[in-house]
Symmetry: C2
Subunit: 282 residues, 2 copies
Amino acid sequence: MILVADSGSTKCDWILYNHKESNPLKIRTKGLNPAVLNKKNFLKIVASSKELESVKDRVQEIKFFGAGCGSKTNQQKVNEILTSYFTNAKCTTKEDTMAAVLATTKEPAVVCILGTGSNCCYFDGQNIHMKTPALGYLLMDEASGNYFGKELLKSYYYLTMPKELASLFNTEYSLNEKDVLKGLYQSKRPNKYLAGFAPFLFKYQEHKFINDLLLDGFRTFVNHHVLKHREALKHVPVHFVGSIAFYGQKQIKQVLAERGITGGVFIKNPLDHIVEHKINIH
Amino acid sequence: MILVADSGSTKCDWILYNHKESNPLKIRTKGLNPAVLNKKNFLKIVASSKELESVKDRVQEIKFFGAGCGSKTNQQKVNEILTSYFTNAKCTTKEDTMAAVLATTKEPAVVCILGTGSNCCYFDGQNIHMKTPALGYLLMDEASGNYFGKELLKSYYYLTMPKELASLFNTEYSLNEKDVLKGLYQSKRPNKYLAGFAPFLFKYQEHKFINDLLLDGFRTFVNHHVLKHREALKHVPVHFVGSIAFYGQKQIKQVLAERGITGGVFIKNPLDHIVEHKINIH
């Protein structure tokens, strides 16, 4: 029995799979970030899941991908906690971006993640290298869900969004000033609130205004992030992971083609992909 | 004795002035936002100031400009609380942007505030009208201190800032990833943190890169906000208030000239200006 986990700071998705069975079990717990939680609280969250408890002696292997797992110290901390609970398992912990990388490739590549946030890294076949620090939704995150959410809202309030789209947008979302201010400044995760507007883009991506908005966002992302790996791209492909990348692949491919780059694979959810394709992530 | 207050949500600046004296007294208390505080807590903050207490019977008039004072109900709430404390005073309460407006004009005008945040309104001689809701630093605030702080940080990390400037920027500010992430996502007021980088702009505004960055920011602001009042601008001037407007007036005038508009007055601090020039704000 193998357990694969993909943890952000707020939630952790676990997939329990057994080579003999076709349908793996999906489990969700609170986020497990070793940079934030002490050992006791980390363990408490793991132990709170009855589903995990019921298999704790049968798990032989754990692959844990998590936010805050970039350093050796934190990787070791997670390994120690998890093997103390899943006593018959060996555990490997890696930073969260590694799940995205391993879902797309085992070979060197540039890998971009475009989901609620965005980032771009170079994978040398073993380790991940960043050219630019990831400074989140207040500064960066170009072409992410939260970025496009901002662009949609701005175009709506600045009246640059065509009227027919503005009317649809206003029907599908609550856009009165009070609600938007609340979502932006009183919610715990404004980036998630903003990314909630992104589905509108893909529903109407055939509309010229939306298509242009997507192209502009992807151009900004490619120029600031992907092209920082210009040298590597002469020899390796560029892969994309995340729902924005998956649904926006038509526009991403166009932006890459404008710059003489060919897009590699586009994967919506790295963990699902790893499980579905039985990718060996040793 | 006249008391003029300008309150945000976090602090309230009071100026006590007496026509007979040349130097008015400046007092600072915690912010007094009637949309956030109940009567008891509002009064508690006022009463906590020994300086205000020492003059409470001698104040004849209070002008209160505050965040959260846009509605008649909240204006009345503030008037009631303040006249219950300053028993010999009459009190007038207005929204905070009115202090900026009254510092620049008594006549109809477009008035822009470029400080930590930014906004733009039309003053018809009595009331303030907004064309676009002010949705703060996560969505808008173009050409404000926090906007330029973001632009400086992005250009630094994206390596588009010229090396000699990047080296000065790195000497004058703490730019390691951890500190920036802390300032952005763990401080109570990320907009204030970001605006803290703005002084760098004005120290080096003669540098072409900074001059262009300022011009770009002001162009975005003028296009999205000032030009929304295109019709009014045929008949009324456009005034600017706030430290970004004051120190960036050379570039603002250039951007306005490109669009055939002449800038009006540029005032750094509205309250100081009102007091210094003994502007009658009845």
